[in-house]
């Protein structure tokens, strides 16, 4: 299972935890596991068509999946997945 870090702004949807251990061998599968467990995240992370919303960046081991294989980016059990929307505060 990979470790998925939840941004502070979304933690209320996952019971306040900072990270979750989730199944899945691709980003699509990992995000699917996350949304299955916490359905309120679905509309925040994914478009109606099932793509990642463009305002949420997803990194696997520090690399942006947009420049890997997007939702099809492979995820190994020890990998760290990080969801990251932009922050506004200054």
């Amino acid at each position: 299972m990979s470790t998925v870090f939840i941004p502070a702004v979304l933690r209320a949807d996952v019971g306040g935890v900072k990270s979750l251990q989730l199944e899945g061998d691709t980003i699509r599968a990992v995000v699917g596991s996350l949304v299955e467990r916490h359905p309120s995240l679905g509309s925040q992370l994914l478009t109606d068509g099932g793509d990642l919303n463009r305002f949420v960046n997803v990194y696997v081991n520090g690399q942006d999946v947009r420049y890997l294989a997007g939702l099809d980016t492979p995820v190994a059990p020890a990998d760290e997945v990080r969801l990251l929307p932009a922050m506004a505060g200054g």
Binding site: N53, A86, A88, G89, G90
Partner: protein, 438 residues
Amino acid sequence: MPRSYADLLREARAQVPEVSPQQVDALPSGAAVLIDVREASEWEQGHLPGARHISKSYIEGQIEGAVPDRDTPVILYCAAGVRSLFAAQTLTEMGYTDVASMSGGFQAWKSAGLDFETPVVLSAEQKQRYSRHLLIPEVGAAGQARLLGSKALLVGAGGLGSPAALYLAAAGVGTIGIVDFDIVDVSNLQRQIVHTTDRVGERKVESARKSINALNPGIKVVPHEEMLVAENVERIIAGYDVILDGTDTFETRYILNDAAVAAGIPVVHASVFRFEGQLTTFIPFEGPCYRCLYPTPPPPELAPGCSVAGVLGVVPGILGLLQATEALKVLLGIGHTLAGRLLLFDALETEFTELQLRRDPNCPVCSDAAVLARAEGRPLTVDGVRVEAPFLMPMTGFGGAVAVPGGTVPAPATPAPPGRTVAAPATPALPAAPEAQA
């Protein structure tokens, strides 16, 4: 047995190879480290181009910092070629393997008609004020003079801008512009340390100016008491060497990004949320820009500002200081900035995480196609369809949404399919639309 000065000099000459000024002048750039071992007052009268100054009195203590590798070729010089012989002897004793002394010193160099540089001379007050900078080889008098001649723009005199303003002023960044149209509120003072309780109700730019000049009266503060919008951004940022983005709205961040990319000005970006912050440095065309990182802003509920979500006061303090650090490095041209890296800070875990960023080849602002379209004064198009992106600046050739009075008419909304190459075909530019009211 006592030895005379003449004995010591003879021994030094026997031990240390000497090179003539002409030989030094003929060396390819970077072939050897040139060190001027005269006193500071002599250095200030002029020195060899590219030389570093380490007074003979400090040579033992400072040489390892300046030349860490003992096999690096080093050439020392002084005024007439004697002090440098003794200093070279010392370096040889310290294990430096390739040390020479320039015969005849700076006098012979000048007599040969060779070029020399005259360093910027700081005033006595400046030398005292910035003495801890002057001791750092990477800054020194030349770096301090560079800072004094630099211009930094703070967009926002809030949580991020406050510490940055104070430290940039303390560091001697000669001109500090501040964009803020707000007034000081008592709820700001939990983190916005450039303001004070007795200035509640005062304009933030004026309050910040007072604090900056109280700390360092030599700093010129340029107040821009207006909201940064598409219509004024180019005017406001013109002439600045670096910009610190400390705003709290996405619209301002995108507008600033677009204009800074077009103007080629680096932007040090930071943003905060409760216990966490993000930081990076955008160097136009060398690394990604804000739109490469975040093509689209999140909906408001996913990105509340500090006034809605709250923030631990020290978090913008830390991020603002890191912004100031990045800005100083950009201005001095030293170290490695965060260009291409996003630094995340989590105060609750006291944890820093680094993510890799890339330039988006389809970026509507900094991609090659976008640059070409802008240069030709026409909108960026993908397969003949105008690119749509949030808050794209109107009237600047960036394309995107067309602003009209009373609202914004979106450009044809056909997003580029994934993987499609952005092109800038020579389509006729759309007629310029009047600017929207912000």
